[in-house]
Subunit: 188 residues, 3 copies
């Protein structure tokens, strides 16, 4: 009996451990380990009326009081920018790109600097092939801004996660470089 | 033997219950209980040419036949609005905000009133700290419109859910107030 | 003892099988079977200055060098289009629509043809009632482009999946028809 009982207790314990470790993402603890992680940089050069050839982004909509070559005053509220930015493995704009970051950002705050992001990474390198889709708020005066990875395709099929963004460099209103630390918590 | 067998049956039953309760979201029944729920209000004051200081939203794009101070005729089709709306716990515009609703809505129907929403709640209160990301269709003549919660950060890390929207008040083309009943079905 | 042991081994094996089959989406194999699948067509007729009544889409934002009646040269970079397209079960524009595809597409590439999509299917037929929310990159020179299904409501409550898009027809800059093969991998 004691052997049998202890044996069953082992089964029960084992089950608890298996199930609870599998389900730890249902708990309250947010210190999960990503199942996949990618650190990448992307580079945004905003069109300002004089740099059409080498710009990677353009203001395409602005409020009544704005225009399409200069970011609107008062936190640029209402400016919508379309971008096609090179993605690199390091912080060098001239490194060989591993893909493109494409989509939109919208200056959407009246009393601070913040954008709303809707974009995709389209990766095509020796290491990764597929797309990653992001949306989220980017209050870019904060050191780390967390946006959502809401889906992916190819190597990132059905993935979800969180991506902390960091401003790695900013040069006036023309150039900025973002460091993205993509942490996937759902990998398929 | 009978003790052993019943003991094992208990283990088996326990397993079934654990696994099936954990997986009830894979079934066909849509009467799930949210794992978290938040009811909030947000307030939109559209810029109309005369209310720049206290407006919270502005038309920034319109079709060829439209403009940026008056919503386009024929269901406002094509108007894109950027907003930075205060979020409150009750229906009073002047209540202390617990965060901001920021993003865009687009009038995207030619034969009815409907918008496409892409926005984030950025919450910063004593109770909640984090962001919630939404997208979805808002055919706002309908009493309840259901949009998707596609991700979140901070207190809403990796959450998903459904948010029924209700028009709580509408005043001409300038002010509307939405009641959002955020129901999370995936909590981490 | 041997009966007891083998009995416990069965329990253990059963557990492993249950848990591992439930979690096969956590593995590396991407040959999953969809839990639901829908093949639909949608039809886009772009406003060009002369077809306001029967167009289903309009350019509402463009870069400084563009305008709202002709797609911008150089891959249409920066053009933002709002659409309200009929969805049909077959490839006939005049078939009875089962819903509307509504949202935006943005030409977001400087060196190729590609759009960023953010839109919803609003379905209202005898077979389906509910909405499906999509975002993703659409490099439309490629045969199949994969975008993310990030959520849904009604019959598609909390669903996620992948939708391969195929250009089924293109007529100049005015008409295109997309075939969407919606594959849900998370059904509730």
């Amino acid at each position: 009996m004691s052997v049998k009982t202890s044996s069953n207790i082992v089964v029960l314990l084992f089950m608890f451990l298996t199930v609870s470790s599998s389900y730890n993402h249902e708990g309250n603890n947010k210190h999960y380990k990503p199942c996949k992680r990618l650190v990448l940089f992307f580079h945004n050069i905003l069109y300002n009326g004089n740099n059409k050839a080498n710009s990677t982004a353009a203001i395409v909509a602005a409020p009544e009081w704005g225009n399409l070559t200069i970011l609107t005053s008062q936190f640029h509220f209402g400016d919508l920018v379309v971008f096609d930015d090179p993605i690199t493995l390091d912080n060098n704009l001239h490194s060989s790109p591993v893909g493109r970051a494409r989509g939109q950002y919208i200056y959407d705050a009246k009393n601070t600097f913040s954008t709303w992001l809707g974009f995709s990474f389209v990766l095509n390198s020796t290491d990764y092939h597929g797309s990653i889709n992001f949306i989220g708020a980017n209050p870019y005066l904060v050191n780390f801004r967390y946006i959502s990875v809401v889906g992916g395709t190819g190597d990132f099929f059905m993935h979800r996660g969180i991506a902390p963004l960091m401003s790695d460099a900013t040069e006036g209103q023309v150039y900025f470089r973002l460091r993205v630390d993509i942490k996937f918590y759902e990998c398929w």
